[in-house]
Amino acid sequence: MFELTFSVNGKSITKTAKKESEVRRLVYLYSNGNHAEKEAMIKEVIASKNENDFVNELKNK
């Protein structure tokens, strides 16, 4: 599960995505910037989730 918070023009929206494809859809819909910036954002969100999963996995061992 991914939780994304978009803050644009002083407005804030929080959305959750179950899959990476949903992260992509939400970033393209709610964020500002060109496609390269959006792709970078998507990579960042997915990487942070993977990092958290790895930490949780270590904690559970």
Binding site: N9, K11, Y30, S31, N32
Partner: protein, 203 residues
């Protein structure tokens, strides 16, 4: 003669994702407009897929959704051409649309007045469209807090009596969007679609 090469104009070209070659039909989407929406030209949305936000704005009379029908958005027309550095630049770009509905209010016969009301207020309106796949088409620049509607460069509502045997009267809405780029496609949640398709508020 070709224009002057300006490689600095290219920053990063998009990488189109792979599609499922075995099921190409799954990668297609509807080319039909099922619903047309007009809204106040300064109406901002915080969350375009929030059913409550839509309902409030409809209730407040800031959005009107004419009866459902069938419509299309055509290829943009470009004009006002100028030659700059051996390249033709079009200074005016407009996307024509057309929407037809045969639905009328056969109980109270009120829809003609509502269409007239839309026409009377057209200078303060922007437009959005809902496709048969529940995709809302809005301004490509929309982000939270901005106006999602598309600016109109013209709008016309016609009441058509074709005169054909057993023909039905239709309302035809056509006009041009002041936009040449591809429109932002928003897959709406079922809750939001329900609000947009069950509420025919008129104006």
């Amino acid at each position: 003669m070709a224009g002057i090469c300006k490689p600095n104009c290219v920053t990063a070209l998009p990488n189109f994702a792979a599609v499922d070659d075995c099921d190409l039909l799954a990668s297609f989407t509807s080319g039909e407009i099922a619903v047309i929406l007009f809204m106040k030209c300064n109406l901002e949305f915080t969350d375009i897929d929030d059913a409550n936000e839509w309902e409030t704005k409809i209730t407040n009379g800031n959005i009107t959704i004419p009866f459902a029908g069938n419509g299309k958005i055509d290829e943009q027309a470009e004009s006002g051409e100028m030659r700059i550095k051996c390249t033709t630049v079009s200074t005016v770009q407009r996307k024509p649309f057309e929407f037809t509905s045969p639905i009328v209010d056969n109980v109270a016969q009120t829809e003609w007045d509502k269409y007239n009301s839309i026409m009377k207020q057209r200078l303060g309106l922007v437009v959005a469209f809902l496709t048969c796949d529940n995709i809302l088409l809005i301004s490509p620049d929309w982000v939270s807090g901005e106006v999602p509607g598309l600016g109109l460069s013209s709008l016309k509502v016609s009441q058509i009596f074709s005169g054909e045997a057993d023909g039905k009267m239709t309302y035809k809405i056509n006009g041009e969007i002041a936009e040449s780029r591809s429109l932002k496609r928003v897959k709406l949640s079922p809750e939001t679609v329900e609000i947009l398709t069950s509420t025919n508020t008129g104006s």
